[in-house]
Symmetry: C2
Subunit: 175 residues, 2 copies
């Protein structure tokens, strides 16, 4: 998924990916269309957020997401826990954390109890930078969602909750 651009001129003239997949024989067409619409919405928002993070803060979304995770862990977090929460592979985080540490936004401490474990925490600079970006982030989202009434928003939240449960049930139950 995804894409960004502005100068390279992709973003504003996208067509719509919602008709990506043709009907399957046993007809899961409705579900597939729903899935593609979901994907389209997510991609539109995510791409815009990436673009703005880059433009306004010269920051990437993965970096932002990592700071966001640490924001609510006063005493820092073990790398493996960050991996689970961010839904990314542990190997992915090695380089990401490395770069954020270089920039001075996070600190790494080897656990005294278990020397395999790294505790990652926000520095003061990281906390300040994140707050700044998170404020703007909220505004961007608010802007993109603004035509949705409170009622529609609540309904969507509820329906997505059901969907999430359905997905999780399938993933948990291997078949």
């Amino acid at each position: 998924m995804n894409s960004e651009s502005s100068t390279s001129g992709v973003s504003p003239d996208w067509v719509d990916g919602e008709t990506k997949v043709e009907e399957a024989p046993h007809d899961h067409g409705d579900e597939t269309r729903l899935w593609l619409r979901l994907l389209t919405c997510t991609t539109l928002v995510e791409t815009e957020v990436r673009r703005r993070l880059r433009e306004e803060f010269d920051f990437t979304l993965p970096r932002f997401d990592l700071l966001a995770q640490l924001e609510r862990a006063e005493d820092g977090m073990v790398l493996g826990e960050v991996s689970k929460r961010m839904m990314v592979s542990p190997g992915n985080l090695t380089a990401l954390v490395e770069r954020l540490a270089e920039s001075g936004y996070v600190s790494r401490t080897v656990s005294p109890k278990d020397r395999r474990v790294q505790i990652i925490a926000l520095t003061e600079a990281g906390r300040a930078a994140f707050r700044n970006m998170a404020d703007r982030h909220g505004e961007w989202i608010g802007d993109m969602f603004k035509q949705l009434s409170a009622r529609d928003g609540a309904a969507l939240m509820k329906e997505l909750g059901k969907l999430k449960n359905s997905i999780r049930a399938t993933l948990t139950n291997p078949q």
Copy 2:
């Protein structure tokens, strides 16, 4: 976004990214929570699709998406058009198409009318391979969405339509 894993053991024990961002001052908290739920659903589905594509077909999602676009263009498609429909940058497609051409799934033809333009089309092998994968893809989605009633699915489709319009309005109107 994203992640896969199975042997590397990330996928099944994810925690949930829905609480990534804290409240913003001017309070777009509701919208942000909604956005994070949307993102979670998309990530869960997308990751599973990637995993299964790899496992069952040794194929990647971008490759699959590209074939899906070409499937409905009998006479092929210009690269730029594919780029818009897939919502990815043109530069991205160069290598992707190259690899799919190597595998014999797509053909590239220079347009006789405009030598800048490449027309990409499915080969018979590509068409067959895609149909095979698309069938399974439909089943996976059907499976993950199966706890959602037809009524809920329809409601979700409708609400997402409204959201999409809201997002597009904001993106089209640069402020």
